[in-house]
């Protein structure tokens, strides 16, 4: 490995942070798409120079950006300016920001409604892309998790997107309800051992799994308990904040739920709590060490009403036992007067040895640890509020 590239989405643009394998000195590039909310930036495992970014605005809607040179230059996939907007056959060229729910008779599902905050039916309405998950094997294929919750796929490098309507239409969709931040599909996990299996997580609906490449889906929430819904053990309605897996063991999943840190050893068929001795089991992020499948990281947040670290101390907690037994990691992190949050897509690990761990805060800091969490240093301190952090380990 020659280095790492950290991709940061913020409230006011994207930033690309690069370093060599030592991860001591950093170059910062950005802001890209200055002034726009960038919910997520992620690179293709099949081609590290290909990056996708979700750029969004309440004024101008959704934009998808793509880079083919590792983030130096960007473009909206599809028709360049000045060229014909249709093919010679008269078909429209790609519209990379067009996310339309599939209600067609052949491939789609009726739009129906989901529940609003007060339990009344509410029409499905596309708002933004929360998360882009590039294919593990094909640089032109990527998945997009959107608000209102649905899953889209592009197979042409982001030029056009089609809904995998079996998720929204599998049966429980009318019961889904938004969390405080909206009804977003925020997590997409691709099974490296089975290309037809993937997991998604939705706030506040829960986890869903497909075993046939996205055609059919089923809830995967057995064992979750949420006191804030009428039936605490309901099949759907759980506010899952994040799930994570280790690529060597994709049947084992870790979850940071609204409250509770959970673990599944059977690909989401059942879950058990592993919060153990955490000072709070509320939080947003969870991630797994790149080389140790039983080493897990979370950042406890005080409560659902107070989105900041307990006692004003920013602590990452690490378990080396797959949960239940947690140790605080504090070296280099503020241990007084710290009231930032760490949002659900804002933690990542690199593949170097020792494993690097990264997270971003709503206060604009991006912290890095080059030794699996033992010591932390801020790469940058004063970015806009960080929405997402991803990292690429460069060959």
């Amino acid at each position: 490995m020659t280095g790492v590239r950290v991709l940061v989405g913020t409230r006011k643009g994207a930033f690309v942070l690069t370093s060599d394998g030592k991860r001591q000195t950093w170059e910062v590039s950005g802001p890209h798409f200055a002034g726009w909310e960038v919910f997520h930036v992620k690179g293709s495992p099949a081609d590290p120079n290909r990056l996708f970014a979700s750029q969004t605005s309440a004024w101008f809607g959704q934009i998808i950006q793509r880079s083919d040179d590792g983030g130096r230059t960007w473009h909206q996939p599809g028709t360049p300016p000045g060229e014909a907007t249709t093919t010679p056959d008269g078909f429209p060229k790609g519209e990379s920001n067009k996310f339309v729910y599939d209600t067609s008779r052949e491939t789609g599902k009726p739009l129906t409604t989901h529940q609003w905050y007060d339990g009344t039916p509410h029409a499905w309405e596309f708002k933004r892309v929360w998360h882009i998950e590039p294919s593990l094997t094909d640089a032109d294929t990527a998945y997009a998790g959107v608000e209102d919750a649905a899953l889209f796929r592009s197979t042409d490098g982001g030029k056009s997107w089609d809904e995998l309507a079996g998720l929204r239409g599998h049966g429980s969709g009318p019961q889904w309800m938004p969390g405080a931040g909206g009804m977003g599909l925020h997590t997409i996990l691709l099974d490296p051992e089975d290309p037809r299996r993937m997991f998604v997580a939705i706030s506040a609906a829960g986890v869903f799994r497909t075993d046939d490449g996205g055609s059919t889906w089923k809830p995967a929430n057995r064992g979750l308990r949420s006191q804030y819904i009428p039936d605490p053990a309901a099949e759907v309605g759980h506010c899952v904040h994040r799930i994570a897996m280790h690529r060597s063991r994709p049947q084992v999943l870790f979850m940071q739920k609204h409250w509770d840190v959970m673990r599944s050893d059977d690909a989401g068929e059942s879950w058990r709590e592993v919060s153990g001795n955490l000072p709070s089991d509320f939080g947003f992020v969870v991630d797994v060490h790149a080389h140790e499948p039983e080493t897990v990281y979370v950042v406890p947040i005080k409560s659902d009403s107070e989105h900041f670290p307990p006692e004003g101390k920013l602590r990452v907690y690490r378990s080396r036992t797959g949960g239940n037994e947690w140790e605080p990691l504090t070296a280099g992190l503020p241990q007084r007067d710290c009231y930032v949050n760490v949002l659900r897509d804002a933690m990542a690990v690199d593949a170097l040895d020792p494993c690097g761990v990264y997270f971003g805060t709503t206060g604009g800091q991006v912290y890095a640890s080059a030794d699996a969490g033992d010591r932390w240093t801020p790469i940058v301190r004063d970015l806009p509020a960080v929405l997402s952090v991803e990292v690429q380990s460069l060959p």
Binding site: G35, W36, W59, F60, G61, I63, P81, G82, E95, V100
Partner: protein, 98 residues
């Protein structure tokens, strides 16, 4: 030539400086101007009006000759000063946010 003033972020997306000049054939309306604008700058599709319904995005408004045309039918002919290029059609974003 029809003149169009876009907000900063849309000029950035379209990679243009200043006003945009467009040749519009037929009646000069908000719809015909946006049709030509989006054909020339396809990266603006979906940013001013909805891809499917064509509805104006809620945080945007259209001004012509200091008059608000946001709530008029997009089929209504715009003033002669817009059609002649003496005045621009102005796309304005709501002042909000942080």
């Amino acid at each position: 030539m029809i003149r169009v003033v876009l907000p900063h972020h849309l000029r950035t997306l379209a990679r243009v400086d200043g006003e945009v000049a467009l040749e519009v054939s037929g009646p000069v309306t908000v719809r015909s101007i946006l049709d030509v604008l989006e054909a020339r700058y396809p990266m603006l599709r979906g940013t001013i009006r909805d891809h499917v319904t064509g509805a104006r995005r809620p945080f945007l408004r259209f001004f012509a000759c200091n008059e608000d045309w946001s709530h008029e039918s997009p089929e209504v002919p715009l003033p002669d000063a817009i059609a002649s290029g003496a005045e621009p059609l102005v796309v304005i974003g709501a002042i909000a946010g942080g």
